[in-house]
Structure formats: structure tokens, C-alpha cells
């Protein structure tokens, strides 16, 4: 399902006119926040209004809220009913077909768009089973940037190295992974993309030559199934966790290479998050930030932490 078809008509027109939109944050009864080209702001009747010291909205409880009356009148808010309709439409009126994704807190849509969910949950056996009420939706748009991995490719191929892309959220990890895969694809290497949230392949629509794609499937299951039946030489997957250690270890022991990504700010944090065992499986670490815009390459490190490539100021 295309997210634009699920938005209310007025919002659809506004959002489709925004060039370079990265995220749309929809909260019941609150102003709609958009992130465009890495900058956050409100959506108003006239379009995108970037945050600045003058237009930050005050909460209803603050006494000086009237100072921002003008802005408050201009911003667009979204109702609870509209959020429910967006979710139901995103599920193609078939909640049952998306229950696994919903219990994981997101819905993967066309073109790599991810709809993040938040609200009052139904909790069972220590796991989220569903939502009684959705109060926030986070629409995240995927962008592809051609050749953004050009600088790092010499450090991860010939021979192919287990590579971990590290960055805080919203710094271009997935975009870099996608382009790295694209650079290698077609060279005769069997590549398996374990695309749990359908972001690497942009909802399965991004055609990468010579790749097998396991879409909307848990990483561990996709990796194990892939090793058993597809004989991959390289597995590409997004956002690994310490809990993925068993399947990744098994794959690397079978001679499979990995390109993966992780939410962390630096190598130390990454090591802490993944644990020694999983961290040691990787030979190259690419650290990204948004210091000079989304996708700034801070450095490429080897397994000993030596810097191989450093960003120039």
C-alpha cells in the first residue's frame, strides 16, 4: 500500500509537494511534525514551517501560550479517527495480514516507507500483541542516494569483509547498506538480503541484480533459512541486536559474509550493545553521523579499532 493513498486528502496534497521529506510524525490531536532534508518543522496550511525560536508551540498548560496563537492557528493537527483510518488503510483493510508487524511496532509499506506505531498496547506473555488505541504514527520515507558508498567500498571488498555500519538513528545506515549491496551486486556473488522491515529493498521494489530477498521476515529465520536453501556468500541485514548472535555466528562459521547496521554513536557503544561475541565477528566498522548532513562518514575502522579512513573537516 502506498502511504499517500492512506493520508487524508488535504494532507496528501501537502506531503506530496514536500521535496526531500524524511519523516512525518502524526500524533492524535497534535500538530503534524515533518522532517524535511533533516530539518524538523510543522506542517501548516501553506506548507512546511521549520522550527525556530519564534514558532515553537507552547503546551496548553503554559501561561504564555497566547503568544503563539498565530502559529497555533496555522498548524495542521490530526484527529484520532484519522490516525485509525490511516492505520486501517495501511493494512489494506486486513489487520490479520499485518499482525506480526503490528506486534513488532511497525508496518512496512510500498517504496520502503515504514509506519511506526505507538499507543496503548495489549500485552501478553511479556510481548506486545497489538494495540487497543493508536496515538502516534511515524511515517518514515526511504530515500536512495546513488553511489553514496563509493568512499567506503575499497575497505570492505577484495576480500569481502564482515562490515557493520554504525550510527545514531536517521544518519543514513540503511541507505548506505543498500548502495553497498548495489555496488557488489552483479559481480557473481550470491547475496541474500534479510530485509525484516522492507527498508533495504524499499518494500521489495528496489531491484538489485543477483540478490535473493527475504522480505518482512525475522532476521534469524531469514538467515537460517537462507543458509539452508540459498547458499549466500553475503548476507545484508539491517539493525542487528545482541539476540541475533547465534544465527550470525552460524552464518559466519559457514563462510558467509555480513553487511549489517546498528544503532550506536561509536565503536564503544556498538561493542556494549552487541556484546563481545557478536562484535568480534565484524572486521570493518563504518561510523556515520549527520554532522555535515545525513550520511556523513565519520570513519572506517578495522577490527582492532585502527582508523582506515577519516572524514575531513
Amino acid at each position: 500500500m502506498n502511504i499517500y493513498n492512506c493520508l487524508p486528502a488535504s494532507l496528501k496534497t501537502l506531503v506530496s509537494n514536500l521535496q526531500g521529506i524524511n519523516e512525518l510524525r502524526l500524533r492524535a490531536g497534535q500538530p503534524i511534525v515533518a522532517i524535511v532534508k533533516g530539518e524538523a518543522g510543522f506542517l501548516t496550511d501553506k506548507g512546511f514551517l521549520q522550527y525556530n525560536s519564534q514558532n515553537i508551540l507552547q503546551s496548553n498548560s503554559t501561561p504564555d501560550r497566547n503568544n503563539n496563537k498565530l502559529i497555533r492557528q496555522e498548524v495542521i493537527t490530526i484527529s484520532q479517527q484519522a490516525l485509525d483510518n490511516i492505520l486501517f488503510c495501511a493494512c489494506e483493510q486486513s489487520i490479520y495480514a499485518y499482525e506480526e508487524q503490528i506486534s513488532n511496532g511497525y508496518i512496512a509499506l510500498e517504496n520502503g516507507v515504514r509506519l511506526g506505531l505507538c499507543g496503548e498496547t495489549t500485552f501478553f506473555d511479556g510481548e506486545i500483541r497489538g494495540y487497543k488505541k493508536i496515538t502516534s504514527l511515524n511515517v518514515r520515507f526511504a530515500n536512495h542516494i546513488d553511489c553514496c558508498s563509493k568512499k567506503v567500498m575499497p575497505f570492505v571488498v577484495k576480500p569481502l569483509r564482515n562490515t557493520l555500519v554504525i550510527s545514531p538513528p536517521f544518519c543514513g545506515k540503511t541507505t548506505l547498506l543498500r548502495d553497498m549491496t548495489l555496488q557488489i551486486a552483479g559481480s557473481g556473488i550470491n547475496i541474500l538480503i534479510a530485509d525484516e522491515r522492507a527498508e533495504i529493498t524499499m518494500g521489495g521494489n528496489f531491484y538489485i541484480l543477483g540478490c535473493d530477498v527475504m522480505l518482512n521476515c525475522g532476521k534469524n529465520a531469514a538467515i537460517l533459512q537462507g543458509i539452508r536453501s540459498l547458499s549466500p556468500q553475503l548476507i545484508v541485514t539491517d539493525e542487528v541486536f545482541a539476540s541475533d548472535v547465534e544465527s550470525i555466528s552460524l552464518a559466519t562459521q559457514s563462510g558467509v559474509c555480513f553487511f549489517a547496521s546498528l544503532h550506536a554513536e561509536n565503536l564503544q557503544q556498538a561493542k556494549g550493545r552487541l556484546g563481545e561475541k557478536l562484535f568480534c565477528l565484524f572486521e570493518r566498522f563504518i561510523v556515520l553521523s549527520n554532522r555535515n548532513g545525513v550520511g556523513t562518514i565519520e570513519g572506517v575502522f578495522d577490527e582492532k579499532g585502527n582508523i582506515l579512513f577519516e572524514a575531513k573537516e
Binding site: 483510518n85 486501517f88 488503510c89 493494512c91 489494506e92 483493510q93 486486513s94 489487520i95 490479520y96 495480514a97 499482525e99 500483541r129 497489538g130
Partner: protein
């Protein structure tokens, strides 16, 4: 002139009798078609999990005209955002039929697979009693109405002549 009037009376009464039987037949066809649809939906939930509209369209293509019409109407309801209740309003249905069919189609897609499966099974059991009644009425009264219509038509025709 009398001959023509006699033929018209006979034809109209026969038509009314047959039309009444057809209505009963349509009711039976629709209820049994929906029952098969519900069983297929349960199996869809267990394995393929096709999206609702895709599943309904597939079912509509392989069904009788009366069921096809209902499923097409349901697709239109889905296209319009599936807000509010889905209303089934066919003259050949009893009001209780309309109510349970409306409830069943309105809840489709609005829950997880376990809930959908349980409710569909409960609906099927409920629908079965409606179908049994409809079949019984068709068997006992359907042919009677058709024959009665024809007989009344002939009698009126003869009287006019």
C-alpha cells in the same frame, strides 16, 4: 381481445409465481455462497493471508451472480475506506439475514487472525441455521408458489375467455 387478455393474465400470474420462487432460491444461493466464502476465509487466515480485497475479488470471480454482486458491493465498501457498517439490502433476504451478513462483513479485516477465525466460525454456525430455514422454505413453498401462480393465471385466463 379476450384471448389476448387471457394470455396476459396467465403470463403475469405465472411470472409472479416464478419470481417468488426465484427470490427464495436467491436467498438460499446467497446464504450458501457466503457460507463457502466464510470457510475459504478461515483457510486464507490459516495460510495465505491474502489481503482482504484481493481475497474477496478472487472469491467473487468464482461465484454465482448473486454472491458475486454481494462481494462486489463489499469491495466498493472497502474502496471507500470501510468506515461505518456494511449494509446488505437485498429484497430477497429476511431482515435477520441482512443483520448477520452486515455484521459479518463489517468485522472482516478488523482484527488479528485468531479473533477473525473464531468470529468467522461462530458466524458460520449462525448462518447455517438461516440457510437450513431458507432451504426448507424453498423446498416446501418454492415450487408451490410457481405452480400456484401458473394455475391462478390459467384459471383467470379461462374466466376472461
Amino acid at each position: 381481445m379476450n384471448i389476448i387478455a387471457g394470455i396476459i393474465f396467465a403470463a403475469v400470474c405465472t411470472y409472479v409465481g416464478i419470481a417468488l420462487r426465484e427470490q427464495m432460491r436467491h436467498r438460499t444461493q446467497l446464504l450458501s455462497g457466503v457460507q463457502i466464502f466464510a470457510a475459504s476465509f478461515v483457510s486464507n487466515l490459516s495460510f495465505l493471508q491474502l489481503h482482504l480485497k484481493q481475497f474477496v475479488e478472487t472469491q467473487a470471480n468464482n461465484n454465482t451472480a448473486v454472491v458475486k454482486r454481494l462481494l462486489k458491493d463489499f469491495c466498493t465498501y472497502l474502496d471507500s475506506g470501510a468506515e461505518g457498517a456494511f449494509e446488505v439490502d437485498y429484497v430477497f433476504l429476511e431482515s435477520s439475514d441482512k443483520q448477520i451478513l452486515g455484521q459479518f462483513f463489517t468485522f472482516l479485516g478488523k482484527g488479528n487472525s485468531v479473533g477473525q477465525m473464531q468470529q468467522t466460525k461462530e458466524f458460520s454456525a449462525l448462518l447455517k441455521s438461516h440457510l437450513d430455514t431458507a432451504t426448507q422454505i424453498l423446498n416446501t413453498k418454492g415450487n408451490l408458489y410457481a405452480k400456484l401462480g401458473m394455475a391462478v393465471g390459467l384459471v383467470l385466463g379461462i374466466v376472461v375467455l
